[in-house]
């Protein structure tokens, strides 16, 4: 952790953090890692939340579970510590809970203690939880949503029911935000018709909730996967009531519903990349493996609104561009908006598959030839 952040923590230590107004709070949260945040303010948080337990219902759609893994990767606090500190009851999370879906003779059997589907039903009926959606929601085939079914219910309908009774909805990861990899261009994408919770790519009218005529705000924690801090700190802010839903959302979220503290509209990953010095000197790699800037190898960090390069990943150790080009996984419409991944954006085909550089070379070349012929003729006075 940098000394800058330590100083900030010391400063913040001396103020009553829970009395901070929302703006200052969000600013502080933007600077801190979840570990710093939670350990610095543990006592205040626990006091404030003494009796109020917050339930989380975490649904998994069509996905790789990488977002949950990213969250599990958080250390100090690890997810258990964090949940304890925030007084959270992770009531339903398919890959972490012990229950299973139990069916006997085509009927749900047993109780919520053992049967996850009964548990989910009960939780939704009780209401008063935060809904987290991880993974995309298939709308196909033909709008039925039956490409993903839990028990005998299309996942699409489960998300709809869960959304209706939720106090707050978080879409975690590119797939849940806007379809992500599942909705990338492919031969089957029309059929499967994967949707994000509130968006399809950049289109806010095609999220699965709009499809279901549910008008509820969704906070998008973008990324493939998102940083554990982004998830935990947003959850923390919602739980502590520092983000009032929906009143504060227009102020806090950008046009793609990402919290601006973590996905700053005025800042891109490229601004603080460890390779930035090479960029400034015009030293670009043209093949993988070297130390220089990866722009010409297709680094999309100049288009990626995220605090990755400041916050760093893997417990503040490193950031993607240290290994290879950034693919701007936090951006709406990813991955199509970043494809081809290893070609710089300006090098993308725009006309008949040619990029602007080639088009320009041909046009300027043709003009130069014409100029030559023209000049010769004029000089001959024809």
């Amino acid at each position: 952790m940098s000394t800058g952040i330590k100083n900030l923590v010391q400063t913040l230590d001396s103020v009553d953090f829970l009395k901070m107004d929302r703006r200052t709070f969000m600013k502080a949260v933007g600077f801190l890692g979840a570990s710093t945040f939670l350990s610095s303010f543990q006592t205040e948080i626990v006091n404030a939340l003494e009796f109020a337990e917050t339930k989380i219902v975490w649904l998994h759609g069509s996905e790789c579970t990488g977002c949950s893994e990213s969250l599990l990767n958080a250390a100090n606090p690890d997810i258990l510590q964090a949940l304890t500190k925030l007084n959270v009851n992770l009531a339903y999370h398919e890959t972490l809970l012990a229950q299973q879906g139990i069916w006997v003779d085509n009927k749900l059997a047993n109780t919520s203690e053992l049967n996850s589907e009964i548990l989910l039903d009960d939780l939704i009926k009780e209401g008063n939880y935060i809904l987290v959606v991880e993974g995309a929601i298939p709308n196909g085939p033909n709008g039925s949503g039956r490409y993903l079914v839990l028990g005998n219910k299309p996942f699409k309908d489960i998300v709809g029911e869960a959304a209706k009774n939720a106090n707050a909805i978080l879409a975690v990861g590119a797939c849940a935000c806007w379809g992500g990899i599942t909705s990338a261009k492919s031969a089957v994408v029309q059929e499967t018709d994967y949707r994000g919770t509130a968006f399809l790519k950049t289109d806010a009218s095609k999220g699965i909730l709009s499809e279901l005529n549910i008008d509820k705000p969704v906070i998008n924690i973008a990324g493939c996967p998102p940083h554990p801090d982004w998830i935990l700190l947003t959850l923390g802010a919602v739980i502590l009531g520092k983000i009032r839903i929906p009143d504060d959302l227009p102020d806090i979220l950008d046009q793609y519903h990402r919290p601006k503290v973590f996905y700053p509209p005025d800042h891109v990953v490229h601004d603080n990349c460890p390779r930035r010095g090479y960029y400034d000197q015009g030293l670009f790699e043209d093949q993988a493996g070297g130390p220089y800037c990866l722009w010409k190898l297709g680094c999309k960090a100049p288009y990626a609104h995220g605090d990755c390069a400041i916050r760093k990943w893997n417990n503040s150790l490193s950031v993607c561009t240290q290994a290879g080009p950034c693919s701007a996984c936090v951006e709406p419409g990813w991955p199509d908006s970043s494809r081809p991944l290893y070609v710089e954006s300006e090098g993308k085909g725009v006309l008949l598959g040619e990029n602007v550089g080639t088009i320009a070379k041909v046009a300027v070349g043709a003009a130069a030839v014409a100029a030559g012929v023209h000049a010769v003729r004029r000089m001959k006075g024809e």
């Binding site: 509209p265 015009g282 100049p302 954006s345 000049a375 024809e382």
Partner: protein, 258 residues
């Protein structure tokens, strides 16, 4: 407009015209060179120097294009708004007569016919009816549009949250870009940056056409002196020049036919 003394020497470009052209050319060259330096990473200066020079040249380009050129057009004629507008059309906008000249020029390029005159001076009124090569007139309008595009996209590259009088201009531009960008499979910012680059290439192309095709001709070199220095044209040199004498009662009619 006749100069004193020699009756065949007339003013082709006013002082303001010449200043505008020189500053425009210098700013444009500076922008192309520093811009492409940033893009290709040419190693003759640092990114920060290039960016600073780039931003230094921007106000010159914009003041010339969006302020001085309109002023120069307004000052070029007497009369009212209609007069000025017609002068602007005749001098800078590609019209049917330019089209027929252009056809003659293309014919000539492929070995058919004479190279038509594109500068028409009216002795009766003492004014040019038109001055510029028809291809120039096409380029001028496209250049004006390209400058608007490059300026708009440049704002976003300059600062992602640039605002003017509290209006969040840059985020408006980003939102507008976001409406088009997905059809190119790009994010708004990537799209705007690619447009910025494309316009730069357009200016390079235009420069090659402008200097290479229009001006690489010994018979046109008289105009170099005129645009960079003297502003004068000697009508005795009849290359590409036609002198007409329109009786004043016909002048208006001729214009309407234009």
């Amino acid at each position: 407009m006749k100069a004193n003394g020699n009756p065949t020497i007339v003013e082709r470009y006013s002082l303001l015209d010449r200043v505008v052209h020189i500053v425009h050319a210098a700013a444009m060259l500076a922008l192309i060179i520093t811009g492409l330096k940033m893009y290709f990473g040419w190693n003759f200066m640092s990114f920060h120097t290039a960016r600073a020079l780039h931003m230094f040249a921007v106000p010159f380009l914009l003041v010339v294009n969006w302020f001085l050129i309109p002023v120069s057009i307004v000052l070029a004629t007497g009369g009212g708004i209609k007069e000025k507008f017609l002068h602007f059309l005749d001098h800078y906008v590609f019209g049917p007569r330019d089209a027929s000249r252009m056809a003659g020029i293309i014919g000539n390029f492929f070995g058919k016919g004479k190279y038509p005159a594109f500068t028409i001076y009216d002795e009766a009124s003492g004014h040019y009816k038109t001055k510029l090569h028809p291809l120039m007139k096409i380029l001028i309008v496209l250049e004006g549009l390209a400058i608007v595009i490059i300026a708009i996209t440049g704002i976003v590259l300059y600062s992602l949250n640039w605002s003017l009088f509290g209006l969040p201009i840059a985020s408006w531009i980003l939102s507008a870009g976001g409406l088009i960008a997905p059809s190119f499979g790009m994010s708004s910012l990537a799209f705007l940056r690619t447009l910025h680059l494309l316009m730069t290439y357009w200016f390079v192309f235009e420069l090659v056409v402008h200097v290479g095709i229009l001006e690489l001709d010994p018979n046109v070199w008289k105009y170099y002196k005129a645009i960079f220095w003297s502003g004068k044209e000697d009508l005795k040199d009849t290359h590409y020049v036609k002198i007409v004498k329109t009786p004043s009662n016909l002048a208006d009619k001729g214009r309407r036919n234009h």
